[in-house]
């Protein structure tokens, strides 16, 4: 077995030094009735070559963005990943290390995470960011729990235009608590969350209002006006971002009154990977740092006075505080955070803003091309970034998407599955990966669907 160095002679020598005649003697604490009698019922072992050919076969049973022109987004975005990202993240000094408990031999990951925390703060315009959470959905759940801890209040107000799976995750995370969740329905004309609708449902003592922007429909929310409403009731404003590239050109949560900004960092260099691993990020105001979940990296010095980094403020965490910790999270998404750092460094300030403008330009282009078919029209009136909702006329969305699929185009997501009232609507995402030619094919395909 190539991953296990020991020969039979090695094992015999070690057993002799231990002072036993066989492995069985080491297992005397394991009662016979729980021992495995038969070999495990698993497929026989493969050689490395055999393994590669089997897994190549399995992977070829998938069709991907490599085979189809895809316009799917909805919380997972197909962006170009610069080559240096893979090379740095593939360095095994990084990827084969554990959580950096021993800072003297973990400065590489610690300094990278310190840089990551800084980048998230810059993008969100918040004071402090943690070292990562699992994904966008669980980050929202953690933010809601944190808001409850800070305010001591129970009512959680969620915009119904937040990613449906994020909302479902919040509900699951709150099953064990005493929180009360109310949803504020999106405006059917604008596709956004309206301040007066929030006022109607938030009650006198809301813990927080949670709003996603751009929201699940791709619509950009008027965050500042929503912040005003929730702050006037003494609740916290939680802003969710599922397409972080939007932060390059849209006003950041910190400048719109956000108390906690959370979201999904997948777009920053992490491949689609069928939904994971992705990167939950969280940033907040300085005053709330001790209520934050997750790891934090801080700056310090070593005995020679040199600048160093280490995990810090750990008394919030499970390994110290146990049942009174701010969260149960331990392993997070460290390598995905490193990925984001290298990605952001590669694009740089200008590159990121330029890329965001390209995404916007292409999305607007496709939107107009689709409108010109007279088979699709905008689902909502609000401005959008690189994703938008269209209403399908003259044909069902399912039929439209299936005709497109036959032409090698994954045209988007039918919204009926999450919003029964939007049974005629589809969600379309456009990134720098979608060529003009693909978009022309899309528009032509739409015409052929009727």
């Amino acid at each position: 077995m190539s991953y296990i160095p020991h020969t039979e002679a090695d094992l015999q020598r070690m057993l002799r030094d231990i002072g036993v005649g066989s492995v069985e003697e080491l297992l005397r604490d394991v009662p016979p009735d729980v021992r495995v009698k038969e070999p495990l019922d698993l497929p026989h072992p493969l050689s490395e070559q055999g393994l590669l050919s089997l897994l190549r076969q399995i992977s070829s049973e998938n069709s991907t963005a490599g085979d189809y022109a895809t316009f799917l987004g909805a919380g997972a975005y197909n962006h170009y990943i610069p080559s240096p990202v893979r090379h740095i993240v593939g360095r095994s000094e990084f990827y084969t290390s554990y959580t950096p408990y021993q800072p003297e031999i973990s400065q590489g990951i610690l300094q990278s995470i310190f840089e990551y925390q800084t980048l998230i703060c810059q993008l969100t315009a918040m004071d402090v960011a943690n070292a990562s959470l699992y994904d966008g959905a669980s980050a929202v759940a953690e933010a809601v729990i944190m808001a409850g801890r800070i305010t001591g209040r129970k009512r959680v107000v969620l915009s119904s235009a937040i990613h449906p799976e994020y909302r479902q995750t919040v509900r699951t995370y709150l099953r064990g608590g005493d929180k009360e969740i109310v949803e504020v329905f999106y405006c059917t004309e604008k596709g956004t969350t309206l301040a007066d609708a929030v006022e109607r449902v938030c009650g006198d003592e809301p813990a927080c209002l949670v709003v996603q922007s751009p929201n699940f429909f791709g619509c950009i929310e008027d965050l500042a006006s929503l912040a005003e409403v929730i702050h006037s009731r003494g609740g916290l404003f939680v802003v969710v971002v599922s397409e972080p590239l939007s932060l390059a050109i849209l006003k950041p949560p910190g400048e719109c009154g956000a108390d906690i900004a959370v979201g999904e960092g997948q777009s920053f260099g992490n491949p689609l990977n069928f939904g994971g691993p992705y990167l939950g990020f969280m940033a907040t105001r300085s005053e709330f740092v001790r209520q934050m979940p997750g790891r934090l990296v801080g700056r310090t010095t070593d005995r020679d006075g040199k600048t160093r980094y280490c995990l810090t403020l750990a008394t919030r965490e499970q390994h110290i505080r146990r049942d009174r910790a701010t969260s149960n999270i331990c392993t997070n998404e460290g390598l995905c955070a490193l990925t984001a750092v290298v990605y952001l460094a590669c694009l740089g300030r200008r590159g990121l803003r330029k890329l965001a403008r390209i995404n916007l330009s292409k999305a607007e282009y496709l939107k107009e091309r689709l409108i010109s078919t007279d088979i699709l029209e905008p689902g909502f009136t609000s401005p959008t970034f690189n994703e938008f909702t269209m209403k399908v006329k003259k044909v069902t969305p399912e039929r439209l998407l299936s005709v497109l699929l036959d032409k090698g185009i994954i045209g988007g997501l039918a919204l009926r599955r999450f919003y029964p009232e939007l049974k005629d609507h589809i969600l379309v995402s456009v990134t720098e990966m979608n060529s003009r030619e693909d978009m022309e094919r899309y528009a032509t395909g739409v015409l052929q669907a009727v």
Partner: protein, 492 residues
């Protein structure tokens, strides 16, 4: 000009920034470029990203390559971090996870376009069920702690379903911190049960805290002392008799593959740590993956979607009215699953058994060879890890922390220290099966040498590490938290 010091403090990427530099530029826009102001109101737009760096590609590569050299990984050397199972991460698994057929797969693609991924997940569920003796497995949890949370929520859902919610979960004093933290998050009250003087849980102490309001006993087997909970059968029989469930934290499953099945011990729920037992890399703190296996009675409560197989076609089933819902978006950390699947297929049944067997031999070998040098609080045959303390060395003023830091000078990653909490000055050593006998011998020699130093020249140990980066002031980071770079002026 000073000579090069690889261990010098490194500038931050922000400090390398020079106006106008660029790493990798976006490709040309092939549609008419549009001003954001043309479609988005000005009040929704930002004018710049303050502080965001501008660095060229060669500088980026050199910066992170230099940083990587300050990082110690399994590929660098022996990493005996107890309960973390830092085994070798096979390279072929990384190659496989980077196949485009996996990497470029969107989670909302039509099912017929992701049959390979669903097949892999379905089969991995079956393999994990077989290894553990469970009936059903979900792959959704992102890491071990989320798996614990998931398992506890299914228990809560079960009791609520029957209109008889229970509020207590019993957790041994040797448990990982995530266990009581997950317990609280799931809405239960964590009640601690003492470990017996032989280092394992006994039925009598359990009976002191167990009652009809107890939803579950949450234990780790083997426990964090590396000892097999040998009363497990009578304990789980009793818990079941009281109407409760037995949850096993699977962090230490690397001791049991092909040797014993948790399902046969009366365990009802277990979480797997694919980033421990099943060889996927830890990534400097993640991503992990924490699938959960349950007995049939809890299956209806598992998160959605479930993966179904019918006539060689795989589908996602969201229609589970009693499910606890979702723990995250989509289906879990898929690429981690790909690596774990590849590991199991490469190892086969005998390979997995050999992994656990050799892990146990390596741990017992270290325990036997060091037990006259370091205090061994529980002297019996261990499983895949063993726990020493600093009792002998502390009389010379040398602590577990000092010993850990001195190991760095000898080229080893320190063990898990000061855990489990019931052993004062604990050093928890888990060698795993992938360390050769020669490497294990070198580690043992280093530990003996450090003991000699502790007696003869304790300052050398107390000042460690003496090579490379010197000891870091962790308390200083707490006293004055600096959690981000704030410009070249203030620095903090």
């Amino acid at each position: 000009m000073a000579f090069d010091d690889p261990f010098s403090d490194k500038p931050l990427i922000f400090e390398l920034s020079r106006e106008g530099r660029q790493g990798v530029e976006p490709s040309r826009c092939d549609v008419p470029e549009r001003d954001p102001e043309a479609s988005i109101p000005g009040e929704f737009l930002r004018s710049d990203i303050e502080g965001s760096p501008e660095v060229s590609e060669p500088e980026i590569i050199r910066h992170y390559t230099r940083l990587s050299r300050l990082n110690y990984g399994v590929d660098t050397g022996f990493y005996p971090l107890g309960s973390c199972t830092m085994k070798y991460n096979p390279k072929v698994n990384e190659d496989i996870a980077s196949f485009e057929g996996f990497l470029l797969l969107h989670p909302y693609q039509p099912e017929e376009l992701c049959q390979g991924a669903l097949r892999l997940m379905y089969e991995l569920e079956c393999y994990l069920a077989e290894v553990s003796g469970m009936d059903s497995v979900t792959l959704q949890p992102s890491a071990g702690a989320q798996g614990e949370f998931c398992g506890l929520l299914t228990i809560d859902a079960y009791f609520r379903d029957r209109g008889k919610p229970r509020k207590k979960v019993i957790v041994p004093d040797t448990a990982h911190g995530t266990n009581p933290a997950s317990t609280s998050l799931a809405g239960f009250r964590a009640v601690t049960v003492r470990t017996g003087k032989e280092g394992v849980l006994t039925l009598d102490t359990l009976k002191e805290v167990m009652d009809n309001d107890t939803a579950a006993l949450m234990l780790t087997n083997p426990n964090t002392l590396g000892l097999f909970e040998r009363h497990i059968k009578e304990i789980s029989d009793y818990v079941h008799q009281m109407g409760g469930f037995v949850y096993c934290d699977g962090a230490n499953l690397n001791a049991l593959m092909g040797i014993a099945k948790l399902g046969e011990m009366g365990v009802d729920i277990v979480q797997f740590n694919l980033h421990k037992t099943f060889s996927t890399p830890h990534g400097g703190g993640g991503p992990g993956s924490g699938p959960v296996g349950v007995k049939k009675i809890l299956e209806p409560y598992l998160p959605v979607p479930r993966i179904r197989k019918k006539d060689d076609r795989y589908t996602l089933d969201y229609n589970q009215p009693r499910s606890i819902g979702k723990l995250r978006a989509f289906y879990g950390n898929f690429s981690v699953m790909v690596k774990a699947y590849s590991y199991i297929r490469r190892m086969g049944p005998e390979g997995l058994k050999k992994a656990s067997t050799v892990a146990i031999v390596n741990a017992n070998y270290i325990k036997e060879r060091l037990k006259s040098t370091y205090h061994l609080p529980f002297d019996r045959a261990c499983m895949h890890e063993c726990v020493f303390s600093d009792r002998f060395q502390s009389q010379y003023g040398v602590t577990t922390m000092d010993i850990a830091k001195r190991l760095i000078d000898y080229g080893f990653h320190p063990p898990t220290i000061y855990f489990p909490l019931i052993v004062h000055g604990a050093m928890m050593i888990e060698p795993t099966e992938t360390e050769s006998p020669e490497e294990i011998d070198r580690f043992i020699e280093a530990m003996k040498e450090i003991d000699r130093e502790a007696r003869e020249s304790p300052d050398v140990v107390k000042n460690a590490p003496t090579r490379g980066i010197k000891r870091i002031d962790e308390a200083g980071a707490v006293r004055r938290p600096v959690l981000r770079w704030q410009g070249s002026g203030g620095g903090g």
